[in-house]
């Protein structure tokens, strides 16, 4: 085979795509192009152990460098694709190099949403997405540093947790009335608020950041709509991700909150595919399109696209799942709760082990499990198999989680 597959993007989805292409038997040339200087690495530890210096850099890499040599993948790192000629099937790199492709895969991920208030460019302000972002923060990650976290979502709260554990003085500002408001119900948000407060983190919900003022000596003052003035040696902003679609759009590929793909990860243009955080894809379990920011989706779409390219079509059909580690708490979520009309709490939040089942018209949509892996597994089985649930049984902790899966 003398076909060439080019992958744009060296994150989790790009790495999985090259692994899966070889596993599926693709014997042509594979080129992985990443705009960061490093080989593909895991992002989840960036807001956790790696930020605190608890994890060596080598441990972050998804595969060792020798692996890419062994499976004969060319990695072009620190390179940016600037344009695509979809007729000639050729990409152009910033360095001037042109490469022809038979199969082109977008694994371009996303970039952080940035603050746009006055003072947003203050030198104390950091974002957290890349290894470079974290390395720029590590020197300030020390006992007594005043850290202000803007955004009480996963990234912000994981950062707050590892910082509190390491003796930083942490304040979280969240615009919504509860933490994790975009992804979880108020019970779960309230639980996370209480565990952060127990760890000494100061949490301010319903609080908007209005501007940032310079206090001198690299200290920022965060001014809120409630008149607070929060002083910070370091500000970490976690207010969401924007999919990197501009290159695809400029090539005439259909995009709508992500690069639009079908269940085989094919875009609107022949021989061009997309995988991972940048895709807007159909999910058969929810019978609608969605864009996900998750390791699981990146991996599964990497497998799907490789099968498509190798003409062994395996349509993408996954119930999404996620995890977040904060303090001694492991949050595992399965499913997407969007549109829920009822929640059922199983167990006692005060015990630091409970689960929340999200339902719509009596059907299970998703489960958040806190230190309750058996409920996570049960939820995954119920959702994957499309089984019915009984609310009375879900609430009854005397029934083992395994027994909730009624086949």
């Amino acid at each position: 085979m003398n076909e060439t597959a080019i992958i744009i993007g060296g994150g989790q989805a790009g790495a999985q795509t090259v692994v899966s292409l070889r596993r599926e038997g693709f014997s042509g040339r594979i080129v992985l192009i990443g705009d960061e200087p490093d080989l593909p690495y895991q992002r989840p530890p960036l807001s956790k152990a790696y930020l605190a210096g608890e994890m060596p850099k080598e441990r972050l890499f998804i595969k060792p460098a020798a692996f890419y040599e062994k499976i004969n993948v060319e990695c072009l790192l620190g390179e940016t694709v600037v344009s695509i000629d979809t007729t000639a099937q050729q990409i152009s790199l910033e360095s001037g190099l042109k490469q022809s492709y038979d199969h082109l895969i977008f694994a371009t991920g996303g970039r952080v949403r940035r603050l746009n208030c006055s003072g947003a460019n203050h030198p104390a302000v950091h974002y957290l997405r890349t290894l470079g972002d974290v390395e720029a923060m590590q020197s300030k990650f020390a006992v007594g540093t005043r850290l202000a976290v803007v955004g009480g979502g996963y990234i912000g709260l994981e950062t707050a947790a590892i910082a509190a554990k390491h003796g930083l003085d942490v304040t979280v500002l969240e615009a919504q009335p509860t933490l994790l408001a975009r992804v979880a119900c108020p019970e779960v948000g309230g639980f996370f608020q209480s565990i952060h407060q127990q760890a000494g983190v100061s949490i301010h919900c319903d609080t908007l950041l209005e501007s940032i003022e310079d206090e001198g000596a690299n200290v920022a003052a965060l001014i809120t709509n409630k008149g607070q003035r929060v002083l910070a040696d370091m500000v970490v902003v976690g207010i969401g991700l924007l999919p990197n679609v501009e290159l695809a759009e400029s090539a005439g590929i259909a995009c709508d909150n992500g690069i639009t793909v079908d269940e085989y990860c094919r875009t609107s243009v022949a021989n061009i595919y997309a995988v991972g955080d940048c895709t807007n894809h159909p999910n058969p379990f929810y019978q609608r399109r969605m864009r996900l920011e998750s390791v699981h989706n990146a991996i599964e779409q990497g497998k799907t696209v490789a099968a498509s390219i190798c003409e062994k079509d395996k349509p993408y059909a996954q119930v999404p799942w996620f995890w977040s580690d904060q303090y001694d708490v492991k949050l595992q979520t399965v499913g997407i709760n969007m549109g829920y009309d009822q929640t059922v709490v199983r167990g006692e939040p005060d015990s630091r082990s409970f689960a929340v089942f999200y339902l719509k018209e009596g059907r299970l949509l998703a489960v958040d499990t806190i230190n309750s892996p058996a409920e996570f597994v049960a939820g995954k089985n119920i959702l994957t198999k499309g089984l019915d649930v009984s609310i009375e049984r879900l609430k009854d902790v005397t029934i083992a989680a395994k027994e909730l899966v009624e086949e």
Partner: protein, 106 residues
Amino acid sequence: MIKVTYIEINGESREVEVEEGSNLMDAAVDNMIPGIDGDCGGVCACATCHVHVDAAWKNKLEPMGETEDSMLDLTDSRDESSRLACQITATAELDGLVLRTPTGQH
């Protein structure tokens, strides 16, 4: 360093050296052992580093925790010998350990 042998479903065997304190999922990825994915990076969240531990070694391992026990239920071929490699830490007592990788990770 201890020696750990990973045996694939097709019988192919690879002995690798593992630093004490490392977990056996990381060791497998570092040594390019096929049949172990480790998608979550070793935090017991994905169950894609399922291995079967040879009977002679089973009782020398730290007992499994509740999370590992539950997560193993997601694997396709769980049996009495099943463990998640990310939850096994290399120690001197495990020198010579033999692990078998399953048909596939789910």
